[in-house]
C-alpha cells in the first residue's frame, strides 16, 4: 500500500476556534505528524473559498486522505465529504476533527485547549490513514408509508403521501379517525366548526384509493430498515362488520350495559355497543368487549338478535397483519393533563370543575347537552364561569414545567363562546401571561377582552372548593394586589397538553427517542423538525410537542414531503461503513450472530459468519464480541482504534 498522504485543514471558525485554540500552532505541530504532507488554516473552511483550498490541495498534493479540524461532524461532515468527492477523493477518506464543540467552546485556557485540539486532530489523522475508499450501498425499497395516529396530523400526512401516488396504511388505535379535533366545538381564531372542517378530510382519507384505514388497530412490532420496514399490526375485533352495518342503531337501543363515553369525556353514557360520534370513520358500530356482558351468545346477545342485516359477529378474532413499508410517520398526538392529578383545583371531587376538552363537549352541538352550556352537577345554565389558565402547565414544582401553547387561545375562545351563548353570564379568566403568537391570534384575544366583556385577572388561583351549589374560587389579582373571591357556577381548567400515553410504547417499538417531557424527539430542533434520528421515521403533530391545528397540519405536510422524497428515489443509499468478516480468521463460533440486533449476521454454508450489508447498521457490537477479530467495522477497525488511542495519549 502506498504511503499515506494526508492533508490537514484547521479552521479558525472566525474567532469561535481561534479564540482559545492557536490554529497556526496546531497546523504546525500536525505538519510533523507521520503521513501528513500538507497543512493549512483558514477563517471558515466550510465557506466556498475554504472548500476550494481543500479541493486544490487534494489535486496539488495528491492527497490520499483529508482531516478537517473544525466543528462537529454532525454539522459539516457531509459538506467536506462532498468537497472531497468533487476533487475526486473518495468521500470516506475525508474526516472531521471536532475542535470546536469538544474543545474551543468548552475550555478557556489557550495552551490547554491548543494541546487538546492537537490530540483530537491526531486521532482523526490516524483514523483516516486506516480508512478505505468505499461506495455507498444502493438498496431497493417498497412504495408504501405507514402513518401511526389518525388525528388531524395523521390524516393530513396520509392524504399528502397518497396524493403523491404512494400507498398509505393509516393506523388508529381508537374505533374512529379524527382524534381530539373531532371533540372540539369551534376552532380559534376563525371559529370554524371543528367537525365541519375535519370530517370531510376523514371521509377523503377513507375513500382515497391509495389509503387503507385501519382503526381499532395497533402497531405491535417494527423491524427492518429505511425503505424496507416490516411492521406487525393488530386489528382488534369490533364484532361488527362495517360492510354490513347500516347504522340503524337498533343494537344500541337493546344493549343493557353502559359506561362513560370517552368521546364526551365522561359527561355522558354510552352503551357497550356504540359509535363514538355520528360522522365516525369507518361509519360502523363497535362492541366494546370490556363493557359487554359477554360475547357468548347465551350471556345476552340482544344486539345480535335485533340486528336485521346480521352485522354482529361474536366470533371475530384479532387480525394480525404483516406489512412492508418504506417510511413511517408518527403522529400519536396528545392527551390533556390527567384531571385527577389537579386535585388542588377540586378536579375529580367537584363535579362542576371540568377540563378544557370537557367544556368543548359542553359547547359542541354533538355534545351531551346538544350545544347548550349546562353544568354537569344539576344541568343548570351557569351564570358565572371561571376559567383557570396554566392548569398543569408552567408549574415545575407540581406539574409540567412547559407552556402548552394552545391554552391561552382556547380559553379566550371558551370564554367568548360562553358569552355568546349566555348573554347575562359572567366570565372571568385567571392567567399568568397571555401568549397569543400566531396569525390573527392577538386580535382574537383583544376582541375577547375588549368587546366581549370577559374579565381577565392576572394571578393564580389559590383554592377552589364546593360551597353549597356554588364553586368558590379564591385567587389574587396581582395587578391590583387585591384578593378575589368568586362564587362560580362552573370552573373550567385550561389543562396542559401531555404526550399521548401511548407515545412511550410507540417510541420503544420504533427505537426513536423521547425528550425529557415524553414528547417525540426530532432529529434537530430547528433544522430537522419533522425527522426522527432513525432514517425513514418522521414525526408530526402534537405528539412532538404542544401545538395547535394549523401547526400540526403544516408539520404533517412536512413529514409527508420527507416520506415522499424518500420513496421518490429509485434506490436508497445506505452507509458502506458496515461490518466485514475476514474469512481467513473467522472460526465460525457464531457469537456475532447472537449479538446483532438486526439479524444482519448469519453463518453461511461454509460455517463462517456472513454480513448482510443492507441490514447492518454499523453499531459494531459484534466487532467487540468477536473473539478472533474477524469481524471488523469498515473504517473503524480495531487497528484504527488502537492507533487513535495511542496518539490521543502520546506526548508531543
Amino acid at each position: 500500500m502506498a504511503a499515506p498522504r494526508i492533508g490537514v485543514f484547521v479552521c479558525r471558525c472566525g474567532l469561535n476556534i481561534e479564540r482559545t485554540v492557536d490554529t497556526e500552532a496546531v497546523a504546525a505541530a500536525l505538519a510533523d505528524h507521520p503521513g501528513v504532507v500538507h497543512t493549512d488554516t483558514y477563517d471558515y473552511m466550510c465557506s466556498d473559498p475554504g472548500q476550494a483550498k481543500i479541493k486544490e490541495a487534494i489535486a496539488e498534493h495528491k492527497l490520499s486522505g483529508v482531516v478537517v479540524a473544525a466543528c462537529s461532524p454532525s454539522m459539516h461532515e457531509p459538506t467536506f465529504r462532498r468537497a472531497g468527492a468533487e476533487a475526486e477523493l473518495n468521500p470516506y477518506l475525508v474526516e472531521m476533527a471536532n475542535i470546536r464543540e469538544h474543545c474551543s467552546w468548552v475550555h478557556d485556557d489557550r495552551n490547554e485547549a491548543t494541546e487538546k485540539a492537537m490530540r483530537i486532530a491526531r486521532t482523526m489523522i490516524e483514523k483516516v490513514k486506516g480508512n478505505h475508499p468505499l461506495d455507498d450501498i444502493r438498496i431497493d425499497h417498497v412504495d408504501k408509508c405507514l402513518v401511526i395516529g389518525g388525528g388531524i396530523a395523521g390524516i393530513q400526512a396520509a392524504l399528502d403521501v397518497a396524493d403523491a401516488g404512494f400507498e398509505v396504511l393509516l393506523v388508529e388505535k381508537e374505533p374512529t379517525l379524527g382524534g381530539h379535533m373531532a371533540q372540539l366545538s369551534e376552532t380559534f381564531p376563525t371559529l370554524d366548526c371543528s367537525q365541519c372542517i375535519l370530517t370531510p378530510k376523514m371521509v377523503e382519507a377513507d375513500r382515497h384509493p391509495n389509503i387503507r384505514v385501519l382503526t381499532y388497530s395497533e402497531v405491535l412490532d417494527v423491524s427492518g430498515y429505511v425503505g424496507n420496514y416490516r411492521v406487525k399490526i393488530r386489528k382488534n375485533p369490533t364484532y361488527v362488520d362495517p360492510e354490513k352495518c347500516n347504522l340503524c342503531g337498533d343494537c344500541v337501543k337493546v344493549c343493557p350495559e353502559s359506561t362513560k363515553s370517552e368521546f364526551d369525556r365522561g359527561l355522558s353514557e354510552r352503551k357497550a355497543i356504540y359509535i363514538p360520534f355520528q360522522q365516525a370513520i369507518p361509519s360502523s358500530y363497535t362492541l366494546d368487549e370490556e363493557t359487554c356482558l359477554g360475547l357468548h351468545p347465551l350471556r345476552c346477545s340482544e344486539c345480535q338478535k335485533v340486528c336485521e342485516v346480521g352485522a354482529i359477529d361474536y366470533d371475530m378474532v384479532p387480525e394480525i397483519l404483516d406489512e412492508d413499508v418504506a417510511a413511517i410517520i408518527v403522529a400519536t398526538g396528545y392527551e390533556p393533563y390527567p384531571i385527577l392529578d389537579l386535585g388542588e383545583y377540586g378536579a375529580g371531587s367537584i363535579p362542576d370543575v371540568v377540563d378544557g376538552l370537557q367544556f368543548e363537549r359542553l359547547l359542541s352541538a354533538s355534545g351531551p347537552t346538544g350545544g347548550e352550556i349546562r353544568r354537569p352537577s344539576d344541568g343548570r345554565v351557569p351564570k358565572n364561569v371561571v376559567f383557570v389558565q396554566c392548569a398543569g402547565s408552567r408549574d415545575p414544582e407540581n406539574h409540567n414545567s412547559y407552556c402548552s401553547k394552545i391554552c391561552c387561545m382556547y380559553t379566550a375562545k371558551h370564554a367568548l363562546l360562553y358569552r355568546h351563548a349566555v348573554h347575562d353570564g359572567e366570565a372571568t379568566v385567571f392567567y399568568i401571561d397571555v401568549r397569543a403568537g400566531g396569525k390573527g391570534y392577538e386580535e382574537f384575544i383583544q376582541n375577547a377582552t375588549e368587546e366581549e366583556r370577559i374579565r381577565y385577572l392576572r394571578g393564580k388561583v389559590a383554592r377552589i372548593f364546593q360551597d353549597g351549589d356554588k364553586v368558590t374560587v379564591w385567587g389574587v389579582d396581582t395587578i391590583s394586589g387585591k384578593r378575589v373571591d368568586i362564587a362560580a357556577d362552573l370552573v373550567v381548567l385550561a389543562t396542559s397538553m401531555n404526550p399521548h400515553p401511548s407515545t412511550e410504547a410507540v417510541t420503544k417499538t420504533l427505537k426513536i427517542g423521547c425528550g425529557g417531557e415524553g414528547f417525540l424527539k426530532e432529529a434537530h430542533p430547528k433544522l430537522r423538525p419533522v425527522e426522527s434520528l432513525t432514517a425513514g421515521v418522521f414525526v408530526a403533530g402534537s405528539g412532538q410537542g404542544p401545538k395547535d391545528i394549523p401547526e400540526s397540519v403544516a408539520q404533517a405536510s412536512g413529514a409527508a414531503a420527507k416520506a415522499i422524497a424518500l420513496m421518490a428515489q429509485e434506490k436508497l443509499t445506505h452507509s458502506p461503513e458496515v461490518v466485514s468478516i475476514d474469512e481467513e480468521i473467522c472460526g465460525g463460533c457464531g457469537v456475532c450472530v447472537g449479538m446483532c440486533p438486526y439479524g444482519a449476521l448469519s453463518l453461511n454454508g461454509a460455517g463462517q459468519a456472513e454480513c448482510n450489508e443492507v441490514l447492518c447498521e454499523s453499531c459494531g457490537t459484534c466487532v467487540s464480541a468477536c473473539p478472533t477479530g474477524a469481524a471488523q467495522l469498515k473504517n473503524l477497525s480495531d487497528n484504527q482504534v488502537r492507533e487513535m488511542i495511542e496518539v490521543a495519549l502520546a506526548n508531543g
Binding site: H102, C103, G513, K521, C619, S624, L633, R642, I645, L649
Partner: protein, 155 residues
C-alpha cells in the same frame, strides 16, 4: 508522581455517536466549561467498546477511560448499551484482580439532550481520577523501562 493537585489526569472517552457524543456537542454549543483532560473518540455505539480498547488505553498511558452511551432503553442500536454495561462490570472485576482500581473505567449514560450531564460527568470524573493519582500501569511500565535501561547501562 505523587497524588497532588498538580497531577493532571489523562483520560480517553469513547462516546457513542447518537447520545453521548451529541451530548458533548450540546455542552459545546451551550458553552459549558469543563476540564480539558479528556480526549473523546467517537464510536457508533457504546457496544463497540471492548475490553481490548480499554486495556490499550490504560497501557498507552491513560489514567482512566470513560465510556458514554445512550440511556437504558434508548440505544439507537436497540441493545448495544446493555452489552456494554455487562462488559464493563466484568472488566472492572478483571482490573481489580490485577491491582488496578476499577474506578479507572467508568460508564455513564448521557443522552443527546444532556449537555449539562456531560460537563458534570467530566468534572467529577477528572476530580475522582486526580484523587486516584497516576495510573499504576504507567508507573509500572516506566519502572520497567527504567529497570531495562539500568540493566543495559550496567552491562
Amino acid at each position: 508522581m505523587a497524588k497532588n493537585a498538580t497531577f493532571e489526569p489523562r483520560i480517553v472517552a469513547f462516546l457513542c455517536r447518537w447520545c453521548s457524543y451529541a451530548g458533548a456537542d450540546l455542552a459545546g454549543v451551550s458553552r459549558m466549561q469543563y476540564p480539558p483532560n479528556v480526549v473523546p473518540i467517537r464510536v457508533n455505539c457504546s457496544g463497540r467498546v471492548d475490553a481490548g480498547m480499554v486495556m490499550k488505553a490504560l497501557e498507552k498511558g491513560a489514567d482512566a477511560v470513560l465510556i458514554g452511551g445512550c440511556h437504558p432503553g434508548d440505544c439507537h442500536y436497540v441493545s448495544g448499551n446493555y452489552k456494554t454495561r455487562r462488559r464493563v462490570i466484568l472488566l472492572k472485576k478483571a482490573l481489580s484482580e490485577v491491582g488496578i482500581d476499577p474506578r479507572r473505567v467508568h460508564l455513564e449514560w448521557i443522552s443527546a439532550s444532556e449537555g449539562g450531564k456531560y460537563r458534570k460527568t467530566i468534572e467529577t470524573y477528572v476530580e475522582l481520577v486526580r484523587s486516584l493519582g497516576p495510573s499504576p500501569v504507567v508507573a509500572a511500565s516506566s519502572d520497567a523501562d527504567a529497570v531495562a535501561a539500568g540493566v543495559s547501562d550496567g552491562s
